[in-house]
């Protein structure tokens, strides 16, 4: 932990200038990822393997959009117009992961997003919760309460796939495809965003500790398919992060952005004529 003791920041205007921009960038990254992850959950409300799983996807989609809305609203204090952020950007301006750019073609690919990516986002919120920037503390706690059930869903379904040889192979392929993006989302060594926010006590830990926390959560399942292993009390990734294509501003590994359909849904284009203000 690198959090420093000291007074709390009651609003964005209290933040040190070096931290202000970085926190705004991190919140925008989180909001965009929540918005697009919600879309991906919503794609499976109908067509999930069971009615209950479809209901869970509906609830998780609603949760993610609620979380995104809360974080977009916070960005007003960081010099953004939340309405323009939600409805007025091109695909290339989104900070969401390349994992979320288009349709998820299989249930196991959705589980990779559910168990690996959603958990990575939660680890970021855990690092923000109880920090020195007061406006996000309560919101992070509330959000993480809901995320417990998202994790339980991903873990429960992963266990089910691991119970059969064919399922294990399918899960391994899906998790492997998402694994590197998850490793990288915590940032490279010396990442200025994470370092600056940790230095000011706004993130409670640095990138290595956050990645370790994520591995602690997903490691027991990932180890079953050869992506992680336990060393002493710690879980480690078998592979090192590959930073090819890393964009330090958008915090993703590929150019481009959400595809046309995803972008239209994320922005609410069909409802544009209903906007009164």
């Amino acid at each position: 932990m690198t959090a420093s003791a000291g007074a709390t920041f009651k609003s964005a205007s209290d933040l040190p200038p070096a931290a202000y921009g970085h926190l705004g960038d991190l919140l925008l990254w989180l909001a965009d990822n929540k918005r697009l992850l919600g879309l991906r959950y919503s794609d499976w409300i109908l067509g999930a393997p069971t009615v209950e799983a479809g209901i869970a996807c509906s609830a998780m989609a609603q949760d993610e959009w609620g979380h995104a809305r809360i974080v977009y609203a916070m960005l007003k204090d960081f010099g953004h117009d939340p309405s323009a952020l939600e409805r007025g950007r091109a695909a290339g301006e989104y900070r969401s992961s390349e994992l979320l750019d288009g349709d998820v073609s299989s249930w196991q690919d959705l589980l990779a997003l559910n168990f690996l990516w959603d958990t990575a986002l939660s680890v970021h919120f855990e690092a923000l919760g109880g920090n020195r920037f007061e406006p996000i503390n309560y919101k992070a706690r509330k959000l993480l309460t809901e995320e417990r059930f998202h994790f339980g869903h991903g873990q429960g379904w992963s266990a089910r796939f691991l119970g059969a040889d064919r399922g294990r192979k399918a899960l391994a392929d899906a998790f492997e495809a998402a694994w590197n993006a998850c490793l990288c989302c915590f940032g490279p060594d010396g990442d200025p965003l994470v370092s600056t926010l940790a230095e000011h006590g706004i993130l409670r830990c640095g990138q290595a500790a956050a990645r370790a926390r994520w591995l602690e959560r997903v490691g027991p399942v990932a180890a079953e398919i050869g992506l992680a292993r336990q060393e002493g009390s710690e879980w480690v990734s078998v592979s090192e992060p590959s930073w090819d294509g890393w964009d330090p501003v958008r915090r993703r590994l590929a150019a481009g952005g959400p595809d046309a359909d995803s972008l239209a849904r994320a922005r609410g284009d069909r409802n544009r004529t209903l906007l009164m203000d």
């Binding site: 069971t50 009615v51 209950e52 059930f149 339980g152 873990q155 429960g156 089910r160």
Partner: protein, 95 residues
């Protein structure tokens, strides 16, 4: 939010995923309340039963919710499945 009606699924209503079983869902709104049976979910594990119950029966801000596999309940006065949702073998319930 999509919700199932009270009562939920009965055994034998759906095929396919054979490792699933019915979990009965109970909840109470306040600590002082008694638990009420609010429905049921199909799930392959206790962990997913918890998730499904929480997401399916979200019509109230529950103080406490719990799930139990239907086959954990022993009928006292009936010879067939409890909660009168059907016989254990899926055949029609006798009146």
């Amino acid at each position: 939010m999509t919700r199932n009606g009270h009562g939920g699924p009965g055994r034998g209503e759906r095929g396919g995923l054979g490792d699933e079983q019915v979990y009965e869902v109970f909840a109470r709104k306040k600590r002082a309340d008694r638990f009420q049976h609010i429905g049921a979910v199909f799930a392959p594990s206790r962990q997913l039963a918890r998730v499904y119950a929480w997401h399916t029966y979200d019509e109230a801000k529950w103080f406490e919710m719990t799930v139990a596999p239907r086959n954990a309940f022993a009928s006292v006065n009936l010879s067939h499945a409890p909660f009168t949702l059907g016989r254990a073998d899926g055949s029609p319930e006798r009146r």
